[in-house]
Every structure is written in structure tokens, then in C-alpha cells.
Amino acid sequence: MILNLKNTFEDIGNATLFAKQFFKEVFVPPYETKEFLKQCYFIGYKSLPLVAITGFIMGLVLTLQSRPTLVKFGAESWLPGMVALSLIREIAPVITALICAGKISSGIGAELGSMKVTEQIDAMEVSAINPYNYLVVTRILACTLMVPILVFFADAVGIIGGYIGINIHGDVNFYRYLTQILQSLEFLDLFPATIKTFFFGFFIGMIGCYKGFNASNGTESVGKAANSAVVTASLTIFIIDMVAVQITDLFF
């Protein structure tokens, strides 16, 4: 028990140092622009179908589940606003981040873990190429930038899903549906939700890279790195979300 606790604190300490190195290296040339764009393509573009399907289902299901209750209170007209608010403020950011933790963080953990085990990272190091700069900085930056974009995309697709959900039982014009959403939304609904997605993205990338970079020798550790990256990133997303909601409550 005490040993486990010690290991956990040691791991947190090492991860903090790993993150600190990111802030040291991110501004130091050479800037790996090509690799960064490649990672943006893999992390962002390649995740679009998954995020689209999930976003659509989130919007549709949320509408179908909320409708009966609102109908009971005669508040069916609130449905578009409620769906949009729920999606934008909480559901889309958290669910998209969790999906990214599963897809991206585990992918990075496995990729870097495999590179570590097969001495590819060492090969970079001995060739006087900075593997942290090339492999880690680019991936963390790409995640930090792409996850918020994916969340916006999930918001949009979720709203379309909600529109279809409403039209299963009724007949609402899309223009009216959008107007109702825009009337119920404020800038302060968007702002904190967007800010937290940058943190989600940063931690998804950072945890994946940390787990992969610190995989011990042996193929077994690659699987462990990928698995551990998903679990840690998912847990971190919930913790960040909880902190973000508390801060939002205090200031907005």
C-alpha cells in the first residue's frame, strides 16, 4: 500500500518534470513544423469520423431522453436551448476528450513505447537529434490545438443530431431551431468550455507521450504504456473538468 502510494507520487513527480521540459523545449529551435502538421493531420483529421459519429449520437440521444420530461412540464420549446447548452458546456468537451484519450493518448503511448523498446528513440539521441523536441513537443502541441477543434466539430454535429431528434416527434424548421439555440447561448457558455478543452488536449498528449517515453524494455511494456495512458488521461480529464467547473462557478 505504502509502496504503491510512493510509486504514484514518484510518477506524478516524473510526469511534472516531463511537462516542465515541454515548456523549456517548445520555444527552442529547431521547430519541427513538418512533423507538427503531420501530427495535426493524424490527431485531428483522422479522428473526425469517430468524433462525428459520437457527436451525432450524443445530440440525438440527449434530445430523445430529455424530451418526455420537458413535455410533462410543458417546456418542450426549451429543448433546443437545453440540448445545445448541455452539449457545449459539458457533454461534448468531456465525451470528445474521453474519446481522444482512448484513441490518441493510447496511440501515442503505444507508438512511442514501441520506439523506445526498439531503440529508435536511442538512435535519435545518439545521432544528436533531440527526440523530445521531435516526438514529444510536436505531439503535445498538435493535441492541444486539435482537441478544441474536434470539440467544436462535435458541438456542431451534436446540434444537428439534436435537430433530427426533435424532428422525430415533431416538425421544427432548422432556422427556428438554430435561432432558439442562439438565443439561449451566451459568450460565457462558450468561453470556459473552450478553455478547458485546451487543457484536455495538452494532458491527453502529455500523458500519452510520458507513458510511451518511459516504457521499460520489452514488448509487454508497450501494451502497458498504451493502457496506462488511456486510464490516466481519462482520469485526468474528469479531474480537470471538476476543477474547471469549480473555477467557472467562482468567476462566471
Binding site: P30, Q120, A123, E125, A128
Partner: protein
């Protein structure tokens, strides 16, 4: 008679040249009590091929990984080109690293890149000023040196073990290193491919006048490439000499490698 003359020539060559790698009292312990290196001392002269023999876990790979700064020793001194690499700041260590090539046991090719990209990536990081044509020429020359120009567009997954090691060597050679460290270059290969790799090591030495440390279990490779052999036992140098000297060693344990 001819062999004896060759040996004398090899010995005199080794003695006449200046040391390029010097290791003094190198210690390394992993965990609490896994003492891998217990005071290794060795010197490699310019233009010399030193083979390090030893059983698995005797600290051979750890020794050469300490030279390039992949593993930090607990105690000792490592001088490469008269610079103590253990106390160099990162940027100066990288300058030394460019002059040292390292061939990993597996070849350590970048899986996500083709053979061409593996070489271009390494070259571009250090010679950004080269034009595309110059880069292409250098890549083809490096691949030609290892006899694998045809594999330029292949992915590492399409290559055999021997080919991966050759491409790994080409990637090492593209930076024109003065020292090459080979970590078990023939392990896992058939006899013919092992001999081809050993001949390639010899060929590179003659063409490029490199200094090498070769970690191996393969006695045929050691016989062909070594100017001098060191035998490592439980973290210390147990014996040192030419192949012929060690073959007749009085130490039965040392002799067992040659039987």
C-alpha cells in the same frame, strides 16, 4: 609466418597511434545491487578496431552506451577526442555524438519512415544547407557502401534482419563518423550474412579510416575485424590481446570463447 607478420603490423599500428577513446574506472549499478560495471578501463587508439567479448550481462553494451551518453555511469571517466563526455553540456555532447556512429543490435530503423527517409531525416537534421540533389547523392552513396541501393524505397518492415542492420549502418555512415560503435552487429544472422556484415565492417574501416568498438559473441566476426580484443567478465576486463594471443591464453575461461 604471414599471419605473424600481420599480427606484428597490427600491434605496431595500434601502439603508434594516439588514444581516441579512454575509459577509466567505469562503474555502473542498476537498481540496488546489480553491479554491471565494476571499474572498466580501456583505451582505443585512432584507426583501431577493438572487439569486446563477454557473456550476456557482462556489461559490454552498457560500456558503449556510456560512451555516447545513453547511460550515465555512477563513477569513472570517459574521454572521447580528449573531451570528458560525462561533464559536457548537451550541445557539446551532441557535437561529439555526430562524430560517433552507433549501430544498434536491431538496426533501430525508424519504422514509420522508408529507407530513404531514414537516411534523409538523419542527414537533414545536421546539414540543412544541402540541396535536394546533394542529399540524394549522399543517400545513394551511403546505401551503395552497404550494397543496398535497390532498397531505397522500401519500408523497414519489408527488410530482412541483415538488411536492417546494413541500412542502420548506412544511416550511421551518412554523417561520416570518425568512430563507429557496433552493438552485436552479427547477432541473429545466419553464417553467410554474418560474414558479409563482418566484411562490411572491415571494408568501412579501410575506406573511411574509422575507429571502432565492436561488441560481439561471434568469434568469426572477432577474428576478421579485431586489431585487439578485450574480454569482459562480471564488469571488469579479464583479458586483453590479439585474437591469436587470447586463443592461447592460460586462463581457461578466456580460452573457452575461442573453442
Amino acid at each position: 609466418m604471414i599471419k605473424e607478420e600481420e599480427n606484428i603490423e597490427k600491434e605496431s599500428k595500434a601502439k603508434s597511434k594516439s588514444p581516441i577513446i579512454e575509459i577509466k574506472d567505469l562503474h555502473k549499478t542498476f537498481g540496488q545491487d546489480n553491479h554491471v560495471l565494476k571499474g572498466v578501463n580501456l583505451t582505443v587508439n585512432k584507426g583501431e578496431d577493438l572487439v569486446i567479448l563477454g557473456r550476456s550481462g557482462s556489461g559490454k553494451s552498457v560500456t558503449i552506451k556510456c560512451i555516447v551518453g545513453l547511460i550515465e555511469p555512477d563513477k569513472g571517466e570517459i574521454k572521447v577526442f580528449d573531451q570528458n563526455v560525462l561533464h559536457l553540456p548537451k550541445n557539446e555532447l551532441n557535437e561529439v555524438r555526430v562524430k560517433i556512429g552507433f549501430l544498434f543490435q536491431s538496426g533501430a530503423l525508424y519504422d514509420s519512415m522508408s529507407v530513404r527517409e531514414n537516411l534523409v531525416f538523419t542527414l537533414r537534421k545536421h546539414k540543412r544547407e544541402l540541396s535536394s540533389e546533394e542529399v540524394e547523392t549522399e543517400v545513394l552513396e551511403a546505401l551503395d557502401n552497404v550494397g543496398l541501393s535497390d532498397a531505397i524505397d522500401k519500408m523497414p518492415s519489408e527488410l530482412s534482419g541483415g538488411m536492417r542492420k546494413r541500412i542502420g549502418l548506412a544511416r550511421t555512415l551518412i554523417l561520416k563518423p570518425e568512430i563507429i560503435l557496433y552493438d552485436e552487429p552479427t547477432t541473429g544472422l545466419d553464417t553467410i550474412t554474418s560474414r558479409e556484415i563482418s566484411e562490411l565492417i572491415l571494408d568501412i574501416k579501410h575506406k573511411r579510416k574509422t575507429t571502432s568498438i565492436i561488441i560481439t559473441h561471434d568469434m568469426a566476426c572477432a577474428k576478421l575485424t579485431a586489431d585487439r580484443i578485450m574480454v569482459l567478465k562480471e564488469g571488469v576486463i579479464q583479458a586483453e590481446g590479439t585474437y591469436e594471443e587470447l586463443e592461447k591464453s592460460e586462463d581457461e575461461w578466456v580460452r573457452s570463447f575461442f573453442e
